[in-house]
């Protein structure tokens, strides 16, 4: 099975405290720590496991800038066979559809049976996989937490729905699936693994290589655009307990007693 996994480089929510810049319209990006979107690691792990079982290869692809190459190498260190970076000034400011259109052009250059994305990324939209499938006229299933290969043309997938129930579907290949966390346990990648793939060639493709009309992607093609980041006025929020840990605990215990917590 030939599998393409789409991955995105995102600010790491566990490693950063997010602040706005001095103009108050964007994140202060100077010291942000980036990593692979959490969901994408599950997608890559799943692809590797499928290939381990039925043969084939795993290619990871991202739309991004020079720095995005590091996330491709990380996923190759996990076990992906190939990496492709799609990068061009014309891609900047793309909305979700723009990203999907760029990925579609790369899909058209290969012969993939299965395309995986994460269920969502840092922006919480969960849009790219569904859009890509519609552009390709491939079937789609989102929030997939189980994949079973039936034969060369059919797979069974479980989708995680409300309440943790699982919706089972049969789906024809080629198809696009968005992968939910928990489907597997992504393998650990150490420094040594990264070093091993440090010299592997990662091709970079631009609009010309992909046959994309620059006017259809990037800022010009975007029907949805982010205007700014802001801090909303949300009222008071929580009453913050302050002081020494002992004092905090004393206050907390009073409150817990009053509210039926003790």
């Amino acid at each position: 099975m030939e599998i393409l996994v789409c991955v995105k480089r995102v600010p790491d929510t566990a490693e950063n405290e997010f602040e706005l810049n001095s103009a108050g319209n964007d994140l202060d990006r100077d010291d942000l720590v980036y990593s692979v979107n959490e969901w994408d690691n599950y997608a890559v792990e799943e692809a590797i496991q499928i290939v381990d079982n039925v043969g084939g290869s795993v290619t990871v692809v991202t739309v991004g800038d020079d720095e995005s190459e590091e996330v491709l190498r990380r996923e190759m260190a996990m076990g992906a066979n190939n990496g492709v970076l799609l990068s061009d000034d014309a891609f900047e400011g793309s909305d979700g559809k723009g990203i999907a259109a760029i990925l579609k052009a790369e899909v058209a250059k290969g012969k993939y049976d299965l395309i995986l994305t994460g269920a969502q990324a840092d922006e919480g939209a969960g849009q790219v996989g569904g859009m890509l499938s519609a552009m390709l006229d491939y079937p789609y299933a989102s929030l997939v937490n189980k994949i079973e290969v039936v034969n060369d043309t059919t797979i069974q997938v479980g989708r995680e729905i409300e309440g943790g129930n699982q919706e089972m579907n049969e789906i024809q290949l080629p198809c696009v699936l968005s992968i939910q966390t928990g489907i597997n346990e992504p393998r650990y990648v150490g420094i040594r693994g990264i070093r091993k793939v440090a010299s592997v060639d990662v091709p970079v493709k631009g609009a010309g290589d992909l046959g994309i009309d620059p006017a259809t992607v990037g800022k010009n093609g975007a029907k949805t655009r982010r205007v700014d980041y802001f801090v909303p006025d949300l009222g008071d929020g929580a009453e913050m307990l302050e002081g020494s840990t002992e004092e905090i605990i004393e206050k907390l215990i009073e409150k817990l007693k009053a509210k039926g917590g003790l």
Binding site: T13, F18, L20, G96, K97, A119, Q120, D122, E123, G124, A125, G126, Q127, G130, M131, A134, Y138, P139, Y140, A141, S142, L143, I161, E162, G163, G164, N165, Q166, E167, M168, N169, E170, I171, C175, G182, E185, K223, T224, R225, V227, D228, Y229, F230, V231, P232, G237, A238, E239, M240, L241, T245, I249, E250, L252, I253, K255, L256, G260, G261, L262
Partner: protein, 322 residues
């Protein structure tokens, strides 16, 4: 005037809560907008929902087809493409169904797409101004979509005020005949119901709920000791279940359990909407988090900026000493 279509998902003959929330969302998009409800399915359940919707919406489009007995997103998409004008503004819930259907629908309608909208700020020419969150709720953004050739927008359930007006006196329009081909490359098989665990967190009055801030599997013991001292039960956020440290039945949230405790102790949980979607009944929420900017502090009653791994043992000792 904007023509808005609100897709009504339902289960067992009852519309989901978002059906009551769309009118408020629509009013914020355009106070003069006309909102049409769209229900797709088959048989008596569908009729029941369509009827109920005439109390809220002036016009209710009904799509009845045997193939739609289960809301397979690929089929629903085909039906909507046949029935709705392609420059329509379509509202869907940002849940597991909406996420499955909406992005592909936006492509096929050739419309703008905006996901997980928590508020609307109205129209400015062709642009619809909206508010959403990024990075797990850590930051807010304004986004604008050019809706002149239509838009597909998913709204976050629970973000808009439910309507109390249920005397709209609307009527049902049957558009089933407009639907052409309903074949699909994805076939629904069955729903496998989540397993029941040893502990029922939905019955607990007090929950000590742990998130990724617990850091290591061994540390769960620290939370268990606090729970034991308080007579509470340990629940958790999704990453703890993904890591297989606790069983799925302990997970609080939209894809886990809905809990209604008196007191909810959120320990090292950031406060994503999917997590908070499972915390109901307005409990007293105590949040302990080492990040003073964690979104959980916006919804908690009491907030404490501390390392839970140090704070919990001290609290346990103090509670034991009472």
């Amino acid at each position: 005037m904007t023509q808005i279509f609100a897709y009504i998902p339902f289960k067992n003959g009852a519309a989901e809560d978002v059906a009551l929330e769309y009118p408020d969302a629509a009013k914020k998009i355009d106070p003069s907008a006309e909102v049409t409800a769209v229900v797709a399915g088959t048989g008596a359940d569908l009729d029941k929902v369509a009827d109920a919707m005439t109390g809220i919406y002036k016009e209710v489009i009904k799509i009845d087809h045997a193939e739609l007995a289960y809301p397979n997103a690929e089929l629903v998409r085909k039906a909507l493409l046949d029935v709705l004008p392609h420059d329509a503004l379509i509202l869907l819930p940002h849940d597991t169904f909406g996420m499955d259907l909406a992005p592909g629908l936006a492509v096929k309608m050739d419309s703008a797409y905006a996901a997980d909208i928590v508020d609307f700020e109205g129209l400015d020419g062709k642009d619809l101004k909206m508010i959403r969150q990024e990075l797990g709720g850590a930051v807010y953004t304004h986004v604008a979509s050019d809706i002149s050739s239509g838009a597909v927008i998913t709204v976050r359930p629970g973000s808009f005020a439910p309507t109390e007006d249920t005397a709209a006196g609307g009527s049902v329009v049957d558009k089933s005949g407009d639907v052409k081909d309903l074949s699909a490359k994805r076939k629904f098989l069955e729903v496998v119901v989540a397993e029941v665990g040893d502990v029922d967190i939905t019955k607990a009055d007090v929950l000590v709920s742990i998130g990724r801030g617990i850091e290591e599997e061994e540390n769960i013991e620290i939370a268990q000791e606090l729970a034991d001292a308080m007579g509470a039960v340990v629940s958790c956020s999704r990453p703890i279940v993904d890591a297989k440290w606790l069983e799925k039945s302990r997970q609080v949230g939209t894809s886990g359990q809905t809990v209604k405790p008196k007191v909810y102790m959120a320990m090292g949980i950031s406060g994503s909407f999917q997590h908070l979607g499972g915390v109901k009944g307005n409990p007293f929420i105590v949040a302990v988090n080492k990040n003073p900017k964690a979104p959980i502090f916006q919804v908690a009653d009491v907030g404490i900026v501390e390392d839970i791994l140090e704070f919990m043992p001290e609290l346990t000792e103090a509670v034991k000493g009472l």
